[in-house]
Symmetry: D2
Subunit: 365 residues, 4 copies
């Protein structure tokens, strides 16, 4: 069951860009949660292509249908199948890449693993599979909201431009105000400019996306092989273009001494807090009640129009390819909602595992 | 089963520094692999404390016993239980920290999750649980060696000092020549100096550990929720002090354009290679046949003798603590073997999942 | 993930009789298996109601659609989602049973577990969920056929009438010739008569279904907690109306002595066989190469028109109910295909786990 | 992880009769449960050989040691490793059976699966592996007792002699009063006589064991692939000599009509009961609050001194064998505690999954 993730709250992903549909089955959502197709659609719209200058001009409506698990407007405790029918799955011709892997894509590994069925994994290797993540994430978010857990993701770096905004509410507000989904409006406009200039050169550009969750109780995560940070790292690293995951200060800790990095405790209003949040809300594999902060490194979109060296694996000879068509010059803005969804899925799973959310207490807070 | 990791080749970890023993049950190792306690002991000795100036002076012999799964010097296909009896589990008194979480440790989250049974999780939260990882890793490595897969981890950064060595064989040779387990001998001596100077200040220091595996066939990893990079990120992030995981170029990709980051293909001797290895050997969640390269950010040891702010969670008042005793001024050298073991466990699991290793073909290469 | 079963070949079931659709996602089917909707439809038609005098007269067409996992007429190695849209999910009114559990149904346990969302679990507790099993089973059967494994289930007992037929091929032929799906034509007509007489009384009747698989290689099954007989017992006992599972001689072994029950070995044409098959092809939790024979006890359909004692769980008072409508007087004939599907799913999973079927050898026999 | 069973409360089994030790790691037991080695030893003594005329005269002390998971006399929430060192693992010579499978044992399947490493699987295929089940079961029972759930197993049939006792408390008392562990003292002495007469003939005899659990809340079990009856069937069928599993009326339902088999409801003291318990406490895959009743068919011990036909699988020729040594003439008495343990493990797992037992409420009832 390598297309399923989660213990109590789990997602089984299916579908590809070449088939009839893409979707997910969400297992473990308690009964009695109000849920509509609109709840999911709002999230799907954030990853939908064709909505701005910095995403691919391809236009797909990506309308979700819920096939099961809902009764009279509420979840009924049984699996929720959500599905998006592909509008025109035959519109793109990948046959030219049948024997010639595109640099930066999973094509070659896919060919070695599965053979050439579904050319180049174009179908299942496609970013469209994250529709399944977002369906699961939308339900997870709704469930977490019953416990006042809120999540936001934003683009913090594109090339060498960095966001300076760290306030959760400001970020949440600002991401809706710019096409880059950056929490810092000044940085956002510089980022947009950079992306468009790279697009004009037939290039793409990478970046960093940060995802923050607040309202987390202490004690989520199961040492030693169900740790919260381990499972967050797994699901985030499994997003197509991601090459790195950090929690809290992340790689900066390598250049700190103990007294700089340790988060000291204090008490306020009979509650325990840490003065700093270098740990990013997770320590010893468990949440400590502070906001969870994770960052992911997103590589530049591999599909570029520049000519590149590749090989024909049947003829076993070198070959040059150029990838025509419309591509995202920077995938970061669309990755934000996938990152939010992924974190939400892991958190919902652990809220259920730890009993903070339980079928019998769903309506009590 | 939150103390078990892996599908076909799995590790169930048990034990704490307070109990009688620490160990692991390894399930899924095929029959007919030659295996002795010595094979495991060699690896355990690499993480054993008390062996150099840069580790804690505590001395523990950590002798492993194999309780099951071996018949006449070879594995017999049934679970292998390996156990290290704690020499003197009552030697340390943690009762002073019973209500006062140590900054940078998992104590507070542990208290919130489990209550105070086993003060501060000192037992299970201890770095000693990685003995289980190393037992599993030693067996995994031996299994991988039947397919000529070799793994090495080395310290690449301590503070602002960086290793410049990238050659697998040189690294493998050099790590045995210096106490820091750095692959670059010049950097190693600077690192040692830095660690000792921080130790003298009652401080600790963080760093980066890189782990490399070569000889990997293309096609390991199961999209979309059994991806090789996701599972590597999970197990590496689950090592106690780790706050970040990178594959290949990692966070550098955020500042690259597509043509810089894509690894172009070429053919040599009828085999496919990439000119660069920015992907770190994994693309689309699957291995591509190039060496797998991962790096982890290791935080400075949280136990420092400097006075720190904490709280008494019973009295609910602020309190200062100072952590006496002998601690590792830098955990990186001892983390190297845990990182090697962790990567080996994931790779052995996928070699079995993909059928590259199978009970019926163990003796054939 | 309590709606998922299987390790390498797994089924995630979703949907209820009240929602839009019912279906399953099949994960782990190797690429390159020819598969069409027709392959699945043939199996679904065997469990479809309204097809004979001994099943409910309700008529549902149960047309399957494959949403994913197929490319150019063959599986592509990614999850296969199969779905049957419910024709008219609002046609039945269960609201009268909202607070009054029907004897013999899961209603009361369902109410206690989930509350009253989806009245009486009528949706998910319905026998219609086995559509998901049959979708998965149809694919499993097709996969097993590539290794010449064939499966048949037949009704061996209804009330006190017993089938006397034991020959695989005769059974396979005969089940298609009578509405009871009994392998013995003489017994079949007596069974039909008995069912119709009970139906006339407003009653229902139980029976026994036997399922046989031939062509199984020795060595399937993973001791000690992945045993073949344990997993077959699990999936068969999980079919709604089943109250007992036997392998081989089953409960008869309690009245045998060792020399009667042991299957002695002999050699013919350089192959090992047993003289008898009391073990039903499974011993020590593993297949031994002989046909696998399992039998299940199927209870009489609980929906009967006779007046029965129940309770109103809101008012907490006794209440009488009578269940009107059209029901199967005997569920055994329709259970046969579910039993075949269930066994096929477990066998396909173990054929993949053991490497007898592997993505790389699918087209080789 | 085919040697692990359970979701929240799981058992990982290891060891064989040929190795140093046999044991289990229990994961998921909440912190704060009082637990001693004595608690486990009491249960192990029930399956210990050499204790009566109807078991093998081999004498093994089977002393358990707890290696982890206990702190100051209570569980600490981390994995509990229990181990029994084999007193003299080299005492028995199985080499004569190296190439010659014993009829009725798993030897042949084991040879085909694993090759001859560990001759005939004598080690892992041995009934001694159920020591792991009993270690897990002892902890599960203690956990269930905090919720007033009590379990007893007794022998109900040997040959054609049947127990007539159905009262839980009487059974519980009587099983300690006779060597057969039958709940009906009159039947017990007849059973003992029968076993001894078969023993005198160099034969063995089969029987039926019933296991009953009372105090179960309604709502345990997770439709559709985590059903309580399915998981009970799995673990019971996985006990070495078991060939059939029944819940409630079991195979008798095949000869009942609906109105006979349906359990009608009534209210007493504001609680819901059923007049009969034909369902054996499980319906729709969930507990309904009535006692859970399961029965297993136990085959006659395959090791008999009578000469039997076998084959030499290396020479590929027919061969006769006779199994000397001391064997159980009837395994049923010793299976009772394994059946209790197995049921306890599944129930503890579901009590945790459903939240009836939760780390935070362990001390509250």
């Amino acid at each position: 069951m390598v297309n399923t993730i989660g213990r109590k709250f789990s997602i089984t992903s299916f579908g590809s860009s070449h088939g009839k549909a893409i979707g997910a089955v969400v297992d473990g959502c308690p009964a009695n949660l109000p849920l509509s197709e609109e709840d999911i659609q709002i999230e799907l719209n954030k990853r939908r292509p064709g909505t701005s200058s910095v995403t691919t001009p391809r236009n797909e409506s990506d309308q979700v249908q819920i096939l099961s698990g809902i009764f009279e407007g509420k979840t009924d405790g049984t699996p929720i199948a959500g599905v998006v029918f592909n509008k025109d799955q035959h519109s793109k011709d990948y046959s030219m890449f049948k024997d010639t892997p595109r640099p930066g894509h999973g094509d070659y590994a896919w060919m070695e693993k599965y053979g050439n069925y579904d050319y180049n994994g174009g179908g299942r290797g496609s970013g469209r599979v994250t529709i399944g993540h977002v369906i699961g994430g939308a339900i997870a978010k709704k469930l977490l909201k019953t416990r006042n857990i809120d999540i936001v993701a934003h683009v913090t770096e594109i090339g060498n431009i960095k966001s300076k905004e760290h306030d959760f509410d400001t970020i949440k507000e600002n991401v809706e105000k710019n096409v880059v989904r950056c929490g810092d409006l000044k940085a956002a406009s510089e980022m947009e400019e950079l992306i468009l200039s790279k697009k004009a050169e037939g290039e793409s550009v990478g970046g960093v996306v940060e995802v923050i969750a607040k309202g987390i109780p202490a004690g989520l995560g199961e040492p030693v092989f169900g740790k919260l940070d381990g499972e967050i790292a797994n699901i985030l690293m499994s997003i197509g273009a991601v090459k790195g995951v950090e929690i809290g200060r992340g790689f900066e800790v390598s250049n700190l001494v103990g007294s700089q990095n340790n988060d000291e405790y204090y008490i306020e209003n009979k509650k325990v807090f840490t003065k700093t949040n270098n740990s990013g809300g997770i320590i010893g594999g468990m949440s400590n009640g502070m906001p969870i902060v994770a960052r992911i490194a997103v590589k530049p979109t591999p599909s570029i129009s520049k000519k590149q060296d590749s090989v024909n694996i049947c003829e076993m000879e070198n070959e040059k390819i150029s990838i025509k068509g419309r591509h995202d010059p920077c995938i970061c803005p669309r990755v934000t909602v996938v990152a939010e969804s992924s974190l939400a899925i892991v958190l919902a799973d652990h809220m259920l595992q730890s009993g903070f959310i339980h079928p019998s207490n769903l309506d009590k807070q």
